[in-house]
Point group: C2
Chain length 344, copies 2
């Protein structure tokens, strides 16, 4: 047992050179599709490679090229549905372009994020992608994105759904401000005025949503009641019992920055005999599976994560090709998906 000592000396470029009667330089040229090599010798070398099943040693390649064609992906939690689908799109795009992905889950605290980003940089990745606006700093502490600018001195940094200024930093975000403004406005136009805003985050994205909510109320001449803006956990039962214990403030609609919280509100309504959407309209965010699981099905904002990821990867690939005129920021429009928890 356990005798898989893997002593089989890996075949290397010298072996191929010998087998095909050429120098290692020529083998290297063939492997790298260098045009200045005659068809004849190329054929010989290719044959030897095929026979032996040779593949170049990536460590040696990395040492020479200072790159292993690897991208670091940092995500607070891959178990989150929004993040995991983002990673799915990213991995797919990058893989097609010949890059591998190192995944790290950082958690949400500032310290964790900085530590993980540093560890990732040590791996000499070609670029880093930060998934989720949690990396884009929070409400009051605008300074705490400095660690991103520091990282950007080493490799290009790409942010999914956050906007951070800085050289070598590239951001793609869905237009959460506009989407949030539009949803709030639609609720108002459908006769609602007491709109509960539920969020679990103080990230860049959450702030954009909050701004859109405020602006829509302002534009409609409704003064913002700060008690209507509630920070909670993105967990169905937590939100449900939260609302059950919030009898002091009246609301005729709920707008949540994640579907989980919206479902919590829906559960609250169902178990308290509140008619949805007539007595209570509910809108979620992210257009996740939960939307079509609930009954009635949940209206939600589709934040076009696939497009955001595609844009990000396209620009990453451009940058790594050496392309110079790549825009630093881009914004993707969201889309409201109307289902049965709203009547507009």
């Amino acid at each position: 047992m356990g005798e898989i000592k893997n002593d089989n000396k890996m075949i290397n470029i010298y072996d191929i050179a010998e087998m095909s009667g050429v120098s290692i330089a020529t083998v290297s040229r063939v492997v790298n599709n260098n045009p200045k090599v005659s068809e004849k010798t190329k054929a010989k070398v290719m044959e030897a490679i095929k026979q032996s099943g040779y593949t170049p040693n990536v460590f040696a390649q990395g040492l020479g090229l200072k790159s292993m064609r690897t991208i670091g992906i940092l995500v607070p939690s891959i178990a989150d549905m929004y993040m995991s689908s983002a990673v799915a799109y990213i991995e797919d795009n990058l893989h097609d372009a010949g890059y591998d992905c190192i995944l790290r889950c950082s958690g949400y605290t500032a310290e964790q994020k900085e530590t993980h980003i540093q560890l990732l940089l040590n791996k000499k990745i070609d670029a880093i992608i930060l998934v989720g606006s949690t990396y884009a700093g929070s409400e009051d502490e605008s300074h705490n994105t400095d660690y991103i600018r520091t990282a950007a001195k080493d490799v290009p940094v790409f942010i999914i759904n956050g906007l951070v200024d800085g050289e070598n930093i590239y951001c793609t975000a869905s237009n959460d401000y506009q989407a949030s403004y539009d949803v709030t406005t639609a609720l108002i136009e459908s006769g609602r005025s007491k709109i509960l805003f539920l969020t679990d985050s103080r990230s860049y994205s959450a702030n954009q949503k909050k701004k859109g909510y405020r602006q829509a109320l302002n534009n409609a001449g409704i003064s913002v009641d700060e008690r209507m803006i509630i920070h909670t956990e993105n967990k169905i039962p937590v939100v449900k019992s939260l609302l059950e214990n919030t009898k002091d403030i009246e609301f005729d609609s709920v707008f949540a920055t994640d579907d989980g919280m919206a479902i919590g509100a829906l559960k609250y309504a169902l178990s308290n005999g509140i008619d949805v959407p007539n007595q209570l309209s509910i809108v979620g965010y992210n257009n996740s599976n939960l939307c079509i699981c609930s009954e009635p099905e949940l209206s939600s904002v589709d934040n076009k994560i696939e497009k955001v990821c595609k844009d990000t990867c396209d620009r990453l690939i451009d940058i790594l090709k050496g392309n110079d005129n790549v825009p630093n920021q881009s914004v993707v429009a969201c889309k409201l998906v109307k289902r049965a928890t709203t009547d507009f």
Copy 2:
């Protein structure tokens, strides 16, 4: 713009050696915590390292050690909730042990799986983890796990939720046979006899579930009606309309191999005025978020993915430490979570 040419010559072991007035060998010893180095010189070197912010070049380390302490994770789709939570646990465990993870999403076809596993091997990872029983072969084609045995000649292969024989292959699976047997038996004992079995897969795991279902029926003296075993897609609306068009076969309960299909069945019941659980009992699998999203909430099998991942990583770390007596297979018990779609 674009002037981030990164020309800053990376500081290397020679620089540190010079700065601290020692040889590179000594620096290397300090970096690797080699005990035979005096406290005094160690302090000097540490100081230089701290001053300069030096970190060893991982490519050079890899070239010498033939390892970059990296584990390859192969998963058919990271957007799947079950898989993404598995990857979350795996990444966490491995990270704590000082390993990084390369993630690849392979898709479900045999060809894709083989290609991706090969590409992963070329990266000279230290081990490979296959997440999901789709890698463990399907019903009829027992031979098609050979590509796993081939890979295992290069590096240890770990399978999450599948059992494949072979040297250097280590498997951890939840006991889906037993769980399925227990669920089916419970349904029977609560007075059901026409149990629809819904599945979207022919993987090892799906087969185990099917066997448990059959065995329970047999033991109860109920002959298996093959029409009750239905292969479909794990999509809520697909299953819902499937059942709406299946008026020819009667059923008083549904057991699905994934929560998504169970929710589809629930939706069918709700929209057709069928009382759940009285007229129709429903049990799902994976105990996902969907269970507490639906109304009534879904009974489901918790397959203890966290424990499965922990076991897998523990053994992986053991193996890579050179430990010899590591069991090849282990099985983790599932747990039925009773909610409102069943009355037992």
